[in-house]
Each structure stands twice: as structure tokens, then as C-alpha cells.
Symmetry: C2
Subunit: 162 residues, 2 copies
């Protein structure tokens, strides 16, 4: 706060250094928090994508294999191996060499929550008239950035359109 900036609060657009901090900082801090939250979401979304997909594979076919995950995600199998090791360290899955990949209780809980959110967003997008293909695509991206409050609002919209 030792800014010897011009305290001339009549800023305007032309000054070069020293801005009126104080008030503006509040909004800035607020925004920084939002960006931070988004960045944090970015870090967890890959883990969520994996457990959600693994749950799908297990539930619909019996087992989750490295190749299947790689195919569905569109990445190389080596990337899958590495990422699975990471989420294993996080306690979300278990695996033994050359055996399949399984969810821990925590992993299963996250997968279920993820899937529920995904379904809500998908249903919501369909409800407001978005085409199936686009809904599928956008839901994948939006999924990790919708707070419970927003999801609740989505549910209200879905209900109101039925």
C-alpha cells in the first residue's frame, strides 16, 4: 500500500502509473478468485473425466481397460497409463499391472456425481432446443464449470419446460 501513486481520484484514461487502488481492488480480488476457481476446476476435470469414463466402461461392459479409455478419450495409451497412475495416487482408482482399472469408493462417488451433473446439463441443453450433437459436445466442456446453484437453476428450467 505504499503506492505513492497520484491519489488524484479523478483518474480518466491518460495517466501512466499509480492508479486509484482501494476501491478497484475489491473488484479485482473478486475477479482473481473467479479465475483461480476456474483454474482449479481445470486441474480436477481430467480426473473427473477419467473416473466418469471408467465407471461407464465398467457398468456397461464389465471392465475398464487402458486401450478403451485411450480410444474413447482420443489420446495415446501411454497418456492414459500416466494419468491413471496419477489418479491412483489420488486414491480414486486401483490397478495392478496388466489387469484392469477399478474404482475406489471415493472414485465411484465422484463418478456418480459427475455423471449426474452431466445428465442434468445434457437434459437442460436439449430442453432449451440445442441439437443432440451440440448438446453432447458442450455438456462435456461445461460439466466441470457449473456450480450446484447453477445446476439447480438448470433443473428448474427443465421442469418448467415439461
Amino acid at each position: 500500500m505504499t503506492a505513492r501513486g497520484t491519489e488524484s481520484v479523478g483518474q480518466g484514461a491518460g495517466r501512466r502509473r499509480g492508479r486509484a487502488k482501494h476501491l478497484l481492488d475489491v473488484a479485482a480480488k473478486e475477479r482473481a478468485r473467479n479465475f483461480r476457481a476456474t483454474r482449479d476446476a481445470r486441474k480436477t476435470e481430467i480426473a473427473e473425466d477419467y473416473v466418469e469414463l471408467i465407471a461407464d466402461l465398467i457398468d456397461s461392459g464389465g471392465e475398464a481397460r487402458t486401450v478403451d479409455i485411450a480410444d474413447r478419450l482420443g489420446v495415446s495409451h501411454a497418456t492414459v497409463v500416466k494419468t491413471v497412475a496419477r489418479i491412483k495416487a489420488l486414491g480414486l482408482v486401483t490397478s495392478r499391472p496388466y489387469r484392469g482399472i477399478f474404482l475406489t469408493e471415493r472414485g465411484r462417488a465422484i463418478a456418480n456425481a459427475s455423471r449426474a451433473r452431466h445428465e442434468v446439463i445434457l437434459a437442460f441443453l436439449r430442453a432449451i432446443g440445442v441439437s443432440e450433437a451440440t448438446a453432447q459436445r458442450d455438456a462435456e466442456g461445461m460439466e466441470h464449470h457449473c456450480s450446484p446453484e447453477t445446476l439447480a437453476a438448470f433443473v428448474r428450467v427443465i421442469r418448467s419446460r415439461r
Copy 2:
């Protein structure tokens, strides 16, 4: 397709190797494309966040400085310097040592588009009853994952609620 997998299409849930490819692959490829699109979005969203913020700073205060960007984004100034170098290489901004950061025409166009999307999402979230703070937060994250089609649907919802 030299898979000597059991061509027994009556798959079920118990088999270990060799799955019925063919039909299932279509859905898998489709999904892979969605994941790929989301990953690609992830790569561009930081660049978009930067140009959008730089545009805001320029428009509302006259100049975009490294510290201001760092403050607003909640990252260290070193990170900003590095990222600005990257988006400069992409042709979105210009800068000279110890001088401010400015948008190129392309950068300005992207910033404008980004801001427009942001505003639509914000208005939409407010319209369906999401609180201001949450709307601000979620808009930040959703912004990069809404296709034009979805945005158009949002606009329709906003209109229908006025």
C-alpha cells in the same frame, strides 16, 4: 482391423478381451471427438482470458500492465510475462520491454467476441435465477465451452424471460 476378437456380437458383460468393435466404435469415435474438442478449448481459453482482460484494462483505464493482469488473474507477474510472450507469438498482442501491452487487430477481435459471449452467459445465468456472485464465477468457466448454437439458445431463453 485384424482383430481376431470374438466376432460373437452377442457381447454381454463377461468377456475379457476382444470386444465387438464395428458398431460400438462409432459412438466411441464420437465421444473421442467431444473430448478432443474440450481439450482444444482448454488450450485456447487462457489466451482468450488474457486478451479479454487486456481489452478491459485498456478500455477502462488506458493501459494494460503486467502487474494489473497478474492481480486480476491471481497469478504471479512472471507467469503473466511468459504467457504474454506466448500470445504475442500468436499475433494477438504487441509489447515492448517496460512498455504496456496492446492488442493487435486479431487480438481485439477475439477480445470482443469473448466479451460478447461472456455477457450472454452472464445475462442468461441471471435470467434463470442464479445469484450474481455465482453467475460471475460460473460464467468465467463456461465461457469457453459454449458453442454458437448453445449461445443462441441462451439468447432465446433470455428474451423469453423479459
